[in-house]
C-alpha cells in the first residue's frame, strides 16, 4: 500500500506534464476548433529552443524560458494567421491535416537548427527532496504540479468567467452568430493558437531539464497521451484535463512498475494505455452509420484511374534502361527506394484517397508483414516467397483490426484512433527485442541467452531469383521494386475505374448516401483496409530487405515503422496526390533517400555558394510541410493533379493543330454513350418509357413506428402505407419528424418501436444497405451526391451489381459495361444524357437535384423516399420534377413518399398526404381534404390552403 501511494505521488510529475500538454490541445480546440496534431512537435521545439538558448546563446534560465514561451506562441500565432485563417470554412479534418504540415515544418526546422546532439539544461525548478509514504520525492515534482495546476485553474477561470473566454466557446460553436455580435472568429482563433502554443512552450521549458533525450521523435508523439487526456475531457473541460492527465500518469506508472518490470513479456503495455482511452472514448461512443448531423468532409481531388498503355510502357522501358545501362548504383538504389515508397503510398491511395478512411498508422501493417516474414525466415528457414505470403496475410489481419474502429468512427476521430494504434504497435511489436537461433556449431551456447544473435537474421535472400541486396544487386532489386509497384499501381487504377472502386468512393463521399444505394459500408471499409494493408505489407517486406538485405539482419526497432514515419507517409502521399495512383510516385520522390534527394543533392552541388544551398536535400521535408498546408488550402489534388492538368493543357495545345480532333472525340463519345445506354436509355430523353421497366412493385407499410433520440421522441407511433403507383406526401413544420420518419424507414435511424414491411416482408432487422437492396430507395435533403465522380459514375454507383466478386476481379480488369436497364432509363427520363461525362461539381444546382432523384431511381427501387426533392428548384424545375415523379408512379409503378414544404408540389403530385406534427400523424387524406382540416391549418398551414398556391412554406 505504501508503495502504491508512493508511486501514485511519483506519477504526479508525468501526469502534470500530460495535463499541461493536453491543456494546450484543449485550448486550441476550444478557441480555434482544431485538433492540433502538431502540439507534441511544438513541445519538442520549445525543449530544443530552451536548451539552445542557454547552451548556445548563453542566456540565463529565466530569460531563456520566457523567450522560449514567446517564440513558441509566436509560431502558433503565425500558423493561425498564415495557414489556418484561409481554412476557416474547411472541415475539421482538413484543418487537422494542415496541422500535420505544421508538425513536419517544426520537426524539419528543429532538425536543421538544432540537430540531434544530446542537450542538457539546468532545472528551472527548485531542488530538494522530502519523504512521503516511505518514498523520497523531489520537491520539483510538487512545484511542477502546482505550476500546472495554477495554469490550468487560470485557464478554467478565463473560459468560465470572462467575456472573452465565453466568446471563444461561442465562436467555435457558431462562428456566424458570434461574428454577428462583434466577435471575430479569426481573432479568437489566433488568440487560442497563441495561448495553446505558449502552453506547449511552457511544457517544453518544464520538460527540458527532466532528462529527456531531446532528439527523440518521442517528444512529438507526446501528442498521443495528450489527445487521450483531451478526449477524456471531451476537448472542453480543463479540470477534466488536469484530472485526466494525473490519472493517465498514475495508470501508466503503476502498469510499468507492476506489470512491465515484473513481466518483460508485457513490454510496451504501459504505452498502450493512451490507445485504450482513445478507443474507449471514440469507438465505443461512435456510430455505425453517421447520424444526420454528420458533416461530410471535403476530400482530396480524385484521379480517374485511366491507364495510358503506350505512355506507361515507354516510361517503364526508359526507367529500366536507365537502371541497367546508365545510372550509378546510388541512383539506382534511389529509384528502388522511390518505387518502394510509392508502393507504400499507393496503399494510402486505396484507403484514404478512394475510401476516405484517414489513417495515421499505415506503417503498422507494413511493419507487421515485414515482422512476420522476417521471423518466419529467420526462425523456420521458410523460402522467402512463402513467408511473404504469410506476412501479407498477417498484414491483412492487422488491416481488418484497423477497420474495426473505422466501422464506428470516421474522419478526425479515425485519425486519432489510428495514430494511437500506430504508437501502441510500435511499443509492443517493433520495439520488442527479437533474437534468432544461434548458428549451427557455434560455441556461443556457453553464454546462455547471449548465444542467440540479436535481431532477425535472414541472411542473403532472393525473391523470384533476384537477390535482395542493394550493394551486390542494385539493378535487380530496383527492377523488382519497379515492376512490383507498376503491377500494384495498375491493379489500383483498375479498382478506381471499377464498381468496387465506386463503392469505396461512395463511402468516402457520404456513408449515408452509400448505404441508401445498397452499398455495404461495412463491407467496403473492411475491403479497403484489407487491400490497403496487403499492399502496405508487400511494400513493408520489400522495404526491410531494401534497408537490411545487405546486412542480412533485420532490426524492426530502428524507427522504420515508427508512428512518426506513418505521419510522414500520409503527408507525402497527400502532397503527391492521395487521390491519384500517380500521386504515390510524386509523393515518394519527397522521401529522404529517393530520387528527390538525389536531384536536390545534384542541384545543391551545382548551385554551390552558401552552405545551406549545397545541402538542398535537407530542406525537402520542410518544403513538403509547406506544400501540404498549401494543398489543404486548395482542391487537394496534390502534385499529380497539377501534373495531369498540365499534361492535359499541353495535349490540348498540341491537338489544336489537328482539325479533325474534335470530330474524332465526339465520335468516340457517341460510341461510348451507345455502349453505355445499350439497354434502353438512348431511346429518347424526356418522355418516360411506359414499359417494360424493371421495377418490382411492392407495398410499403409502416405500423406504430417510433423514433427516439435520447430522451426526445422524434416520431411517435406513426402508421403509414404506400401502394405501388401511389405518391404519398409528408408535410409538417420544421422539426415535426418527417425526415426522422424517412430515416427510420430507410434504416438510417434506429426505430425504437414499430414495424416496417415491404411487400409484406418485415425489414426492421435489416440495415440501411440491405433495405436499399430490398427495394427502398431514397434521396436526401442535402443531395448527398458523390461530387468527385461524374454523373455517369453516380448512376453506376447506384446501379452496379452488389457482388463481392468485384472486389477481386476489378483489380484485374475494369471493363466498362452497359448500364442496367433501369439506370439507362433513368438517364433518359431525367435528361442526363448530355451530362453523363461531367463531374457533379460542374452541374448547376437544378441538374444536381435531378441527378439525386435519378440516382435513386437508377437503383431500381420499389419504394422511393424523397426528402425535399424540390428544395432550391425554381417553379419551372419543380413543375418538371413533379410531372416526372407522377409518371414514375403511374407508368413504372413506383411507390413514392415525398417530404416537401412546397404545397404546390404536394398538391400537384400526391395521391394522399400525411401531416406530421411533433412526431405524431395528425391527419391523412387527399391533399384537398387535408389542407382543409382545421387541425392541419392550426398546426402547420395557419391559413386556408388557397393562399399557398404556388408558394412554398417560405412564402407563407
Amino acid at each position: 500500500m505504501t508503495n502504491l501511494l508512493g508511486y501514485a505521488l511519483l506519477s504526479l510529475g508525468t501526469g502534470a506534464l500530460y495535463a499541461l500538454v493536453a491543456s494546450g490541445v484543449v485550448v486550441i480546440a476550444r478557441g480555434a476548433g482544431v485538433i492540433n496534431f502538431a502540439h507534441g512537435a511544438l513541445v519538442m521545439w520549445a525543449a530544443y529552443f530552451f536548451s539552445a538558448a542557454q547552451e548556445n546563446w548563453g542566456l540565463p534560465v529565466a530569460p531563456a524560458g520566457a523567450l522560449t514561451v514567446v517564440v513558441t506562441a509566436a509560431i502558433g500565432l503565425a500558423f493561425a494567421v498564415l495557414a489556418m485563417r484561409p481554412l476557416r470554412g474547411a472541415s475539421p479534418l482538413i484543418r487537422a491535416m494542415a496541422t500535420l504540415g505544421l508538425l513536419i515544418i517544426v520537426q524539419s526546422v528543429a532538425g536543421l537548427c538544432f540537430g540531434s546532439r544530446v542537450r542538457s539544461s539546468p532545472s528551472v525548478l527548485p531542488a530538494g527532496e522530502l519523504t512521503m509514504f516511505g518514498t523520497t520525492i523531489g520537491v520539483d515534482l510538487f512545484v511542477r504540479l502546482a505550476a500546472v495546476a495554477v495554469v490550468i485553474a487560470v485557464l478554467w477561470a478565463f473560459f468560465r468567467f470572462t467575456t472573452v473566454g465565453l466568446a471563444a466557446t461561442a465562436v467555435v460553436d457558431n462562428p456566424r452568430a458570434a461574428a454577428a455580435v462583434g466577435w471575430s472568429p479569426d481573432a479568437v482563433a489566433g488568440a487560442a493558437w497563441c495561448v495553446g502554443s505558449a502552453l506547449a512552450g511552457l511544457a517544453g521549458v518544464l520538460l527540458a531539464p527532466l532528462g529527456n533525450p531531446l532528439s527523440s521523435p518521442s517528444l512529438i508523439m507526446l501528442v498521443v497521451p495528450a489527445l487521450a487526456v483531451a478526449l477524456m475531457a471531451r476537448f472542453h473541460s480543463l479540470p477534466g484535463v488536469f484530472a485526466g492527465g494525473l490519472a493517465l500518469g498514475l495508470v501508466e506508472l503503476e502498469t510499468q512498475v507492476g506489470l512491465v518490470t515484473a513481466h518483460p513479456a508485457w513490454t510496451g503495455a504501459d504505452r498502450v494505455i493512451p490507445l485504450i482511452v482513445i478507443v474507449f472514448y471514440l469507438v465505443v461512443r461512435g456510430h455505425g452509420i453517421p447520424d444526420r448531423g454528420h458533416i461530410v468532409a471535403r476530400h482530396p481531388e480524385l484521379g480517374g484511374g485511366r491507364i495510358h498503355p503506350l505512355a506507361l510502357g515507354m516510361l517503364l522501358a526508359v526507367a529500366l534502361a536507365l537502371i541497367w545501362f546508365v545510372l550509378p548504383s546510388d541512383w539506382v538504389n534511389a529509384v528502388g527506394a522511390n518505387a518502394l515508397w510509392a508502393l507504400l503510398m499507393v496503399s494510402l491511395v486505396v484507403l484514404v484517397g478512394f475510401a476516405g478512411q484517414i489513417c495515421l498508422g499505415q506503417l503498422v501493417p507494413a511493419g507487421v508483414a515485414a515482422l512476420i516474414t522476417g521471423r518466419i525466415v529467420a526462425s523456420w528457414h521458410w523460402p522467402l516467397v512463402a513467408a511473404l505470403v504469410v506476412g501479407v496475410i498477417g498484414a491483412v489481419a492487422v488491416g481488418l483490426l484497423f477497420a474495426l474502429p473505422a466501422l464506428r468512427t470516421r474522419g478526425l476521430q479515425l485519425a486519432i484512433v489510428t495514430l494511437g494504434i500506430g504508437a501502441a504497435a510500435d511499443a509492443i511489436l517493433f520495439q520488442r527485442g527479437y533474437h534468432s537461433p544461434p548458428p549451427a556449431g557455434t560455441a556461443a551456447t556457453i553464454f546462455g541467452g547471449l548465444g542467440s544473435p540479436e535481431g532477425t537474421v535472414v541472411g542473403t535472400q532472393s525473391l523470384f531469383g533476384i537477390e535482395l541486396d542493394t550493394i551486390d544487386n542494385p539493378d535487380g532489386f530496383a527492377t523488382l521494386a519497379l515492376v512490383v509497384f507498376t503491377l500494384v499501381a495498375l491493379a489500383v487504377a483498375n479498382l478506381r475505374r471499377g464498381r468496387a472502386g465506386r463503392r469505396l468512393i461512395a463511402i468516402r463521399a457520404d456513408e449515408r448516401a452509400a448505404a441508401a444505394l445498397g452499398i455495404s459500408v461495412v463491407g467496403a471499409k473492411l475491403y479497403a483496409f484489407a487491400l490497403s494493408a496487403a499492399i502496405a505489407g508487400l511494400g513493408g517486406v520489400l522495404y526491410v530487405f531494401y534497408e537490411y538485405g545487405e546486412v542480412g539482419n533485420i532490426n524492426y526497432g530502428a524507427g522504420t515503422f515508427a508512428p512518426f514515419g506513418s505521419i510522414m507517409l500520409i503527408a507525402f502521399a497527400v502532397v503527391g496526390g492521395i487521390g491519384w495512383v500517380s500521386g504515390s510516385v510524386a509523393g515518394a520522390t519527397l522521401v529522404v533517400g529517393t530520387l528527390g534527394t538525389r536531384v536536390a543533392m545534384v542541384v545543391g552541388d551545382l548551385l554551390g555558394g552558401p552552405g545551406w544551398l549545397v545541402h538542398l536535400d535537407r530542406f525537402l521535408p520542410l518544403a513538403s510541410g509547406v506544400v501540404l498546408i498549401m494543398i489543404m488550402n486548395g482542391p487537394g489534388g496534390g502534385i499529380a493533379a497539377d501534373n495531369a492538368r498540365a499534361i492535359h493543357r499541353a495535349l490540348a495545345r498540341l491537338g489544336s493543330g489537328w482539325p479533325d480532333r474534335p470530330a474524332r472525340a465526339a465520335a468516340s463519345r457517341r460510341r461510348r454513350l451507345a455502349h453505355l445506354l445499350a439497354s434502353g436509355g438512348d431511346a429518347g430523353e424526356q418522355p418516360v418509357p411506359v414499359q417494360p421497366v424493371p421495377v418490382r412493385p411492392a407495398r410499403l407499410a409502416v405500423a406504430g413506428l417510433t423514433v427516439t433520440f435520447g430522451a426526445m421522441t422524434a416520431v411517435r407511433s406513426i402508421d403509414l402505407a404506400v401502394e405501388p403507383g401511389e405518391v404519398v406526401g409528408l408535410i409538417g413544420p420544421n422539426g415535426a419528424g418527417k425526415t426522422s420518419l424517412i430515416d427510420a424507414i430507410s434504416g438510417h435511424a434506429p426505430a425504437a418501436g414499430g414495424v416496417v414491411t415491404l411487400g409484406g416482408t418485415p425489414v426492421d432487422r435489416l440495415g440501411a444497405p440491405r433495405r436499399a437492396r430490398a427495394g427502398i430507395g431514397r434521396t436526401f435533403q442535402h443531395l448527398a451526391l458523390f461530387e468527385d465522380l461524374t454523373v455517369l459514375e453516380n448512376i453506376q454507383a447506384a446501379s452496379d451489381p452488389r457482388d463481392t466478386r468485384a472486389y477481386l476481379t476489378n483489380l484485374l480488369s475494369a471493363r466498362e459495361r452497359p448500364l442496367p436497364p433501369m439506370a439507362a432509363l433513368a438517364v433518359g427520363a431525367f435528361g442526363l444524357r448530355d451530362d453523363l461525362f461531367r463531374t457533379v461539381s460542374e452541374l448547376p444546382y437544378g441538374r444536381r437535384r435531378l441527378l439525386s432523384v435519378a440516382r435513386a431511381v437508377a437503383a431500381a427501387p420499389s419504394v422511393l423516399l424523397l426528402d425535399e426533392p424540390c428544395a432550391g428548384l425554381d417553379q419551372t424545375e419543380a413543375a418538371q420534377l413533379v410531372r416526372l415523379l407522377r409518371r414514375l408512379a403511374d407508368d413504372w409503378g413506383l411507390a413514392i413518399v415525398i417530404n416537401d414544404h412546397d404545397m404546390s408540389v404536394i398538391q400537384g403530385v400526391c395521391d394522399r398526404v400525411a401531416v406530421i406534427d411533433i412526431g405524431r400523424k395528425i391527419a391523412e387524406g387527399r391533399p384537398a381534404e387535408v389542407c382543409g382540416d382545421p387541425r392541419v391549418q392550426a398546426a402547420y398551414l395557419g391559413r386556408p390552403v388557397g393562399e399557398f398556391e404556388g408558394k412554398g412554406l417560405a412564402g407563407a
Partner: protein, 414 residues
C-alpha cells in the same frame, strides 16, 4: 542489437543534421617516402549539430603524420582522407562509395550511427579497422572486413565488477523498453551474476520517459546501492541527479560528456566507467601512450587545432590513433604489393598483434558471441570521474575480460 543499443546509449547517431559526404585530402605524403602514395580514409561526423569527433580525426591525422615520418607503409607514403559522415545515412553511404571508387587502402576508426558502410567496403575488399561499432545496422560488429578494437559494446558485463570494486553490494539496472536495450540489460545481469551481486530491480522505462524520479525510487526502495545504466546521457544524468549520494553508478566511458559530469558536481564522483583503453594520463605506464601524445602534440604544433590536448579523449582519440597503428603494422607485413585486398588478407591472418595498449589481438578468432563476432578485443578497464580534478582517472591496473565474465555468469548454478 548491441550495436544499436550502444548507439542509443552513446547518442552519437544524428538523425536530422544531414548533408552528403564531403571531405578531402587531410594530409599530404611527405617528400621522403619512395613508393606511390596510398590513401587511408576516416569516416566520421564533424561540424554537425549532432555528435562530432574532430579530436578523433585529428588523432588519425597525427598518427598518419607519424607513419610518414617513419617512412610510410612498405615505403608508400600515406595520405589521410576524412569523409564527413555528417550524421546522415546518405552521407555515410556516399563515403563508403567514395572509399570503394577511389580504392583506399583501408578505412580507419569509422564512426557512423546510421551504418550502411560495411557492405560497400566488403564488396570492394577494403578493411575497416577500429570502427566504433555504433551504427544502427550493427554491420561493423559482424562484417568480415571489420576489425573492431574497442570492446565498449560489452560494457554492461563489466560494470557490476567495477561497482563491486567501489563497494556496491546490491545492484539495479536502468534501461529502455526498446529492443536495442535488451542485450545490454542481459549483459549487465550476467555480469552481476558473475561477480555474485544481486540485480534487482531491472527498471525498463519507455524512451518517452520524462521523469526519472520514480525510477530512482524503485532502485533505492529495493535496496540497490549501485546501478548499471544503459540509457542516454540525459537520462543517465537525470538518474544520477535523482539518486544523488544514495547510489553509485556505472556507464560506458564517453556516454556522459565531461560537461554534464561537471554540472553534476560531487555526485559525478560516484560514477565509474567501463573503458576500452588506458586513461590518457597513464603515459608513465604505457610507452605507446607517450608516443601517441607526442604525435598529437606534433600535429597540434603543425597548426591542427583539433589535436589540442584539451580535446583528447581516451575512447575516441586513442581509438583513432590505434587504428592507424594497426594498418601500419599489418601493412608492413603484407607480402608483395600493398593493396587493400592484400591488407585485408593479411589482417585475416594476423595473430598475436601486440599494440601494448590492449592485450595481444588474434584476428583469426572471431568473438564467439553472435552479432559481435568482429570485436576482437574483449578486455575492458575501469575509470572514474574525479569531480575535484574534473577529469577521468583510472580505477586501477586491473583489466576485465568480458568473455570470461560472461561465461562465468552464464554457467548454471551447481
Amino acid at each position: 542489437m548491441i550495436v544499436a543499443g550502444l548507439g542509443v546509449v552513446l547518442a552519437v547517431a544524428g538523425l536530422t543534421a544531414c548533408g552528403h559526404g564531403g571531405g578531402g585530402a587531410d594530409s599530404s605524403p611527405p617528400a621522403g617516402s619512395s613508393g606511390a602514395p596510398v590513401t587511408v580514409m576516416i569516416i566520421a561526423p564533424t561540424g554537425t549539430a549532432g555528435g562530432n569527433y574532430p579530436e578523433m580525426v585529428a588523432a588519425t591525422r597525427a598518427a598518419v603524420r607519424g607513419v610518414n615520418a617513419r617512412g610510410g607503409i612498405k615505403g608508400h607514403p600515406v595520405q589521410l582522407v576524412h569523409c564527413n559522415e555528417n550524421n546522415d545515412g546518405s552521407a555515410a553511404a556516399a563515403c563508403a562509395k567514395q572509399a570503394a571508387d577511389t580504392g583506399v587502402l583501408a578505412v580507419v576508426s569509422e564512426t557512423s550511427g546510421t551504418g550502411g558502410i560495411m557492405a560497400t567496403l566488403a564488396k570492394a575488399g577494403i578493411a575497416s579497422v577500429g570502427s566504433a561499432g555504433v551504427s544502427a545496422d550493427g554491420s561493423e560488429l559482424h562484417s568480415p572486413i571489420s576489425f573492431v578494437l574497442s570492446p565498449l559494446v560489452m560494457f554492461p558485463a563489466v560494470c557490476p565488477a567495477l561497482l563491486k570494486k567501489i563497494g556496491a553490494g546490491h545492484l539495479g539496472m536502468v534501461g529502455y523498453d526498446l529492443s536495442a536495450s535488451d542485450r545490454l540489460l542481459i549483459l549487465g545481469q550476467v555480469g552481476a551474476k558473475a561477480v555474485g551481486l544481486p540485480v534487482s530491480p531491472v527498471v525498463r522505462v519507455p524512451i518517452t520517459t520524462n521523469d526519472f524520479t520514480p525510477t530512482v525510487t524503485r532502485l533505492t526502495a529495493a535496496g540497490a546501492d549501485g546501478t548499471v545504466m544503459v540509457v542516454t546521457e540525459q537520462a543517465a544524468v537525470a538518474v544520477m541527479r535523482g539518486g544523488g549520494g544514495r547510489l553509485s553508478y556505472c556507464h560506458a566511458t564517453g556516454a556522459i560528456s565531461d560537461a554534464s559530469l561537471e554540472q553534476l558536481g560531487p555526485v559525478a564522483g560516484r560514477l565509474v566507467e567501463a573503458t576500452a583503453y588506458p586513461e590518457l594520463d597513464e603515459a608513465d605506464r604505457f610507452s605507446e601512450l607517450r608516443r601517441m601524445r607526442a604525435e598529437l602534440d606534433a600535429e597540434y604544433n603543425s597548426g591542427d587545432k583539433d589535436a589540442s590536448a584539451a580535446l583528447w579523449k581516451s575512447s575516441t582519440s586513442l581509438n583513432g590513433w590505434l587504428s592507424v597503428q594497426v594498418v601500419e603494422k599489418i601493412g608492413n607485413q603484407v607480402p608483395g604489393e600493398l593493396t587493400s585486398s592484400a591488407l585485408l588478407a593479411q589482417l585475416g591472418r594476423t595473430t598475436n598483434l601486440d599494440l601494448q595498449l590492449v592485450p595481444p589481438l588474434d584476428f583469426t578468432r572471431p568473438n564467439p558471441i553472435p552479432g559481435v563476432e568482429r570485436v576482437f578485443n574483449t578486455t575492458l578497464r575501469g575509470a572514474r570521474w574525479d569531480s575535484g580534478g574534473r577529469r577521468h582517472v583510472s580505477l586501477g591496473n586491473e583489466t576485465y575480460q568480458a568473455l570470461d565474465i560472461l561465461a562465468a555468469g552464464s554457467r548454471p548454478p551447481r
